[in-house]
Symmetry: C2
Subunit: 388 residues, 2 copies
């Protein structure tokens, strides 16, 4: 994330994270009720009188509600600020954009680091298991609270794309269009394996203390290692060649096995930064939700899963993404096509790997903004047909 | 590794690991002299009177001198028993096959777990840094000790291939042919990154104790985690789909975040087995040697590196190997071709990933055995030309 520039006329401007508490909580997929739930969210742009210009942006594993604009105190711009703002791919002059932190997260929405009202202490591992569907359920509560009858669009990359697809399937009447970028209906065993290694690094950290580390030493080394593993999978072999090659940092270290290659130093930096802003228990719960996610819920035919979906779809994959590979997006395309759904598929040539959804902004801007225009036109057409 | 079958007429038979101690030691690339050095090695088949039928087999990261046949006490067959034996790809009826444990290893050859004669205690992290070139230097001492003037062939997969290439470059007059399988002249930054993560898992284990854990608790959790990371990179996305898919093991665990998917259970098993047979310090030193390895030693042109090599080459890569990808083998091919070297390149279609060099035995058997016949014929031709 970068800091704001005052001269930036395409910024969504100064924003504040807002909070809404749902006292009744929700019944989770695991069968437990979690109550109360607080949801942290931000909005950009204005809801029109027809309330039909709302777009829900869904964040990935380590994201939060702060998707665009900047916060007054920190000047920190949102994680997708390059896509969301006046005149940008998701144009806040036209659309009312909402982003909320997921349940299980650690950025304001109720998660394992939140206080368990029954004990007065953080939940830790007593936090119930959560699913992508649960995340979407909580988002639906937020959308209802905001008085929005239907979302013009749900959009997200990576785990955000999983949520977008789940929205289209869970609430077909409330979603006019869905963009799933660098995403999948279920993780590959290889991706599950990487998640497992990351979790194990956390679980094995002596400071983990069975998840009860709040106000003590956090399992920083384990969490940093998990992030480093993740980061390798977010890049590509090609982008690592370009970014680091086999360059070795200057100066010599006398400690054996200290990082020497630039790629090592980079990963260490990423790990060290991550532990300042993320909770290890959240990392465990959210990666597990990703591993469990299977949009088809065991149905053999993905076509069946999308049977009732009424959205227009935009599915985007990146050639060098090996964590959520192209073939997974093509599976979604096939299922939707065989249902005669309205689906556009784009495979973007990119060397950025999985992270491309945060970098290939020119292409994404064109694709998403044009897709949204087409969605609006289709809605207009439908409405005029109705009134004819 | 499997156990022997008594009815197996293609087994190299009962073998014993032998040991030779070089009191004078060697001067290492790091500038330090390591003395004495013990080398653990095994041989299969017989050296012919002309002493021109010797093949040196070079092992990968976690291998050892026990490449073929079986040990009497354990019945354990060697790590490449499917390739080495009477009538096999490397036919012990025809060839005298040698395999030695590398320096820095933990299977009989001097490494960080060996006793430092100056202190009477294991070296631990006082063991000097080693390189692939050092491994090859020690192998040359062994070959000299065995009275072999020239090797008919040097052959290895993965890090074994690195050593094979180094042999061809370091001792051009002593190597008639070289097979580098699933190998490279230098690791990609992505592979360095994975190695770094594995080392960090070990270094962060509280039992690591700065490498001084012998006769105490070993850093088992860290070493297992390192092995699990490695194992993901040895397989392929496709082979993981075939082997595990998204299957979940039966029964329920009440402990949160225990392995559930079959791929998780498999990796845990691999980690747990590894810690019984491998030393964590050796893992650090050997992976670092791999990371440092650059056959061209900074020369821009790989062709220059091979300038003096006189071997015939067989370079083999596997389509699904993403740790030592096909393009790395093709770089070797290009360099050798532009030198007018005698080189055969084979890209084997395989879903096994990097591990294919241990599994695609039918293809490897044909390629290697035919290559060796051609090498022998070429030598005969040369010799008859000389005597003409």
């Amino acid at each position: 994330m970068n800091n704001k520039s005052d001269s930036d006329t395409t910024s969504a401007g100064k924003v504040e994270t807002q909070y809404i508490k749902f006292e009744e909580g929700i019944l989770l997929d695991c069968g437990k009720t979690l109550a109360p739930i607080t949801v942290a969210y931000e909005t950009y742009g204005n809801l029109n009188p027809e309330k039909d210009n709302a777009i829900l942006v869904l964040h990935a594993l380590s994201g939060d509600a702060h998707a665009a604009g900047y916060h007054e105190n920190t000047d920190k711009t949102g994680w997708w600020d390059i896509m969301i703002g006046p005149g940008k791919g998701i144009d806040t002059n036209q659309y009312f954009v909402i982003c909320s932190n997921i349940i299980g997260g650690c950025k304001g929405t109720t998660g394992p680091s939140s206080t368990n009202p029954e004990t007065g202490k953080p939940y830790g591992l007593s936090f119930p298991s959560i699913t992508i569907k649960d995340m979407v359920r909580v988002q639906k509560m937020l959308i209802d609270y905001l008085g929005i009858p239907g979302l013009l669009n749900v959009i997200g990359g990576s785990m955000g794309g999983m949520q977008a697809l789940q929205w289209a399937v869970s609430y077909p009447k409330n979603v006019f269009s869905c963009c799933a970028i660098a995403s999948t209906t279920k993780l590959s065993p290889q991706s599950i394996a990487f998640d497992q290694i990351g979790r194990l690094a956390i679980l094995q950290d002596p400071n983990f203390n069975n998840g009860d580390y709040y106000e003590k030493q956090i399992p920083a080394k384990g969490l940093a290692l998990a992030r480093m593993i993740g980061h390798i999978t977010y890049l590509s072999d090609e982008s690592m060649h370009t970014k680091f090659g086999r360059a070795v940092k200057e100066g010599d270290t006398n400690k054996p096995f200290e990082p020497e290659f630039e790629v090592e130093t980079y990963l260490h930096y990423q790990g060290d930064e991550f532990i300042k802003r993320f909770d290890a228990n959240s990392y465990l719960y959210i990666t597990k939700a990703m591993d469990y996610f299977d949009l088809s819920e065991g149905k053999k035919n993905l076509r069946e899963t999308f049977k009732n979906a009424e959205s227009q779809f935009l599915i985007i994959s990146f050639t060098s993404d090996w964590l959520f590979p192209v073939y997974q997006s093509k599976e979604i395309l096939s299922a939707l096509k065989s249902n005669l759904s309205d689906v556009t598929y784009c495979e973007i040539k990119s060397s950025y790997g999985h992270d491309a959804f945060l970098f290939e902004i020119d292409e994404l801007t064109r694709m998403v903004s044009n897709f949204l225009i087409r969605v609006k036109n289709n809605i207009k057409k439908k409405n005029s047909n109705k009134t004819d």
